[in-house]
């Protein structure tokens, strides 16, 4: 199906902080109803892009559009259309899990009954139901992360931004989350914009992937297209071919380093 107006349009956007250019002339479109992934190492400009699209930052130059609206001119209208799970914690630790969800529901105008039903089903899905009346400051890191994601899924936005959503999650919660997100995507046509530095995740979940490195978009396409273009067998190799480096993962294992070493010698 052709798509007359993409839900997200980014054209020649630059964001500098003093002398540092975090995002350097990026352009891309996200189509309605797709799952779009920003794949890149830490510090590539992924979070800055999300902050620009979610009205938390204003671009130094360039044009942004979300559902045909300019986030600078109509911030509240734009905010009505998206939900976001941030990379850093954004829970109120002095409130309970339930209260955090409830405040979120009110902020996003979710009717009281729907709010309660969805809060309960999400807390159960993320195995936090028994702890719903405990203060968040008593939660472990993983539980906080799960609550954060549950909160982001409480309302049904047009676009859901997920900034490194699975960082610090165990595999079980990770699967739980993707099941939920895919369900939202399928049943409510929620467009999903996610950032990740996990290759397998981008490969498995996203319809299209944009590879970003040093603030620039290196390539955009489906996993298959990227592999085809670079004549490689896996997304990981495609990434290597496009950026010249493996992903700079903070928890890169010794095996990863060995693989890289071997690859370098083969050439």
């Amino acid at each position: 199906m052709s798509d007359p107006v993409p839900i997200i349009r980014v054209q020649h956007v630059v964001k500098s902080f003093g002398s540092v250019t975090a995002v350097d002339d990026i352009s891309f479109d996200v189509h309605r109803g797709e799952i779009f992934a920003f794949l890149g190492p830490n510090g590539a400009g992924k979070t800055t892009t999300i902050k620009l699209l979610t009205t938390l930052l204003q671009p130094t130059a360039g044009m942004l559009e979300l559902d045909g609206l300019d986030p600078i001119v109509q911030p509240t209208e734009v905010r009505r259309r998206f939900g976001v799970v941030f990379q850093d914690p954004s829970l109120d630790q002095d409130l309970t899990a339930w209260e955090n969800l409830d405040i979120h529901g009110v902020l996003y105008h979710v009717p009281r009954r729907v709010r309660r039903e969805r809060a309960e089903s999400l807390l159960r899905a993320f195995e936090l139901w028994e702890r719903r009346d405990d203060l968040v400051k008593t939660f472990s890191g993983g539980m906080r992360r799960r609550l954060e994601i549950a909160r982001g899924l409480l309302h049904t936005p047009k676009v859901l931004f997920l900034d490194e959503p699975t960082l610090g999650l165990d595999p079980q919660s990770r699967n739980q989350m993707w099941t939920y997100v895919k369900q939202l995507n399928a049943s409510d046509q929620v467009t999903v914009f996610l950032t990740t530095h996990y290759m397998d995740e981008a490969d498995r979940v996203a319809d299209r992937i944009a590879i970003i490195d040093h603030g620039r978009i290196v390539a955009t396409g489906s996993s298959a297209e990227l592999r085809e273009r670079t004549r490689t067998a896996s997304l990981e190799e495609a990434f290597l071919a496009l950026t010249g480096t493996t992903i700079r993962d903070e928890n890169a294992t010794a095996t990863d380093q060995m693989r890289q070493f071997v690859r370098a010698w083969r050439r």
Partner: protein, 248 residues
């Protein structure tokens, strides 16, 4: 409207849960009441001004409201640090209602804390001239609370880190408190001090509370209320403007 309410409720819940903070914040006012109240009392009496405790108790209530309101406004900094601020800033609600909700919440907490100290002053021996004066005094206390919660919201939105907080306490809150005439009568002050006390919004708050509670006032209660209302509107406007411009 529900947004204002839920954010107001959030401030209140957090206050009621922090028993340590409630008890800890009684320390300073108790010290002023106990040490200054009883040590300066005889001097004050000999100067022909009557009971010092009667004079300073309304000032200590004002001080409590000032500190609590400023503290809860500055809590925007905490929310920035712990991330919750982001959650409210990306929500599809006008930033004005977020700021109003927080500010009213902080002001309510300040009034509650002021009421607690008021009860303490009653225990130590403070006596308002009539019981009917008490509700009126609390209306003025509420105005004072809004004025400083709004001021603090503006400052909290402008500061980026905790380091600034100490500066605000030392260079703003302490002078506001000492220049307010909470501890000394305003008549016969040296010219410089007279001007400074008149610029300090808390001066009118303390004067108004004192005027309603014990009938001693320098400017007149009506005058105090008008000044507080005007300053309140200006600070709310400034606070809302600063809050609307937060970038994270």
């Amino acid at each position: 409207m529900s947004v204002v309410y839920i954010l107001w409720l959030r401030e209140l819940k957090k206050y009621l849960r922090s028993r340590a903070q409630i008890i800890g914040s009684l320390g300073a006012p108790l010290m002023y009441l106990g040490v200054l109240g009883f040590s300066l009392g005889p001097v004050f009496q000999r100067a022909g001004e009557g009971s010092y405790l009667q004079f300073m108790a309304p000032g200590v209530v004002g001080m409590t409201v000032l500190f609590t309101a400023m503290f809860s406004g500055i809590a925007i900094l905490w929310d920035r640090q712990f991330g919750f601020l982001k959650e409210t800033l990306v929500a599809p609600v006008p930033r004005l209602s977020i700021m109003i909700g927080r500010t009213l919440g902080g002001a309510t907490v300040a009034v509650l804390q002021g009421a607690l100290i008021f009860a303490v002053t009653l225990i130590v021996g403070f006596r308002p001239s009539t019981v009917l004066a008490v509700p009126l005094a609390f209306l003025i206390t509420a105005l004072v609370a809004v004025v400083f919660a709004a001021l603090a919201a503006g400052i909290g939105s402008s500061l980026k880190d905790m380091q600034g907080f100490q500066m605000v306490m030392n260079f703003l809150v302490m002078p506001i408190w000492f220049l307010s005439g909470a501890l000394y009568p305003l008549k016969g002050l040296p010219a410089v001090l007279a001007v400074l006390t008149r610029v300090d919004p808390l001066t009118y708050g303390v004067d108004g509370i004192r005027g309603t509670l014990i009938g001693v006032t320098h400017f007149g209660v009506a005058h105090d209320v008008i000044v507080l209302l005007a300053v309140g509107v200006v600070f709310l406007g400034l606070g809302a403007w600063r809050f609307s411009r937060i970038e994270i």
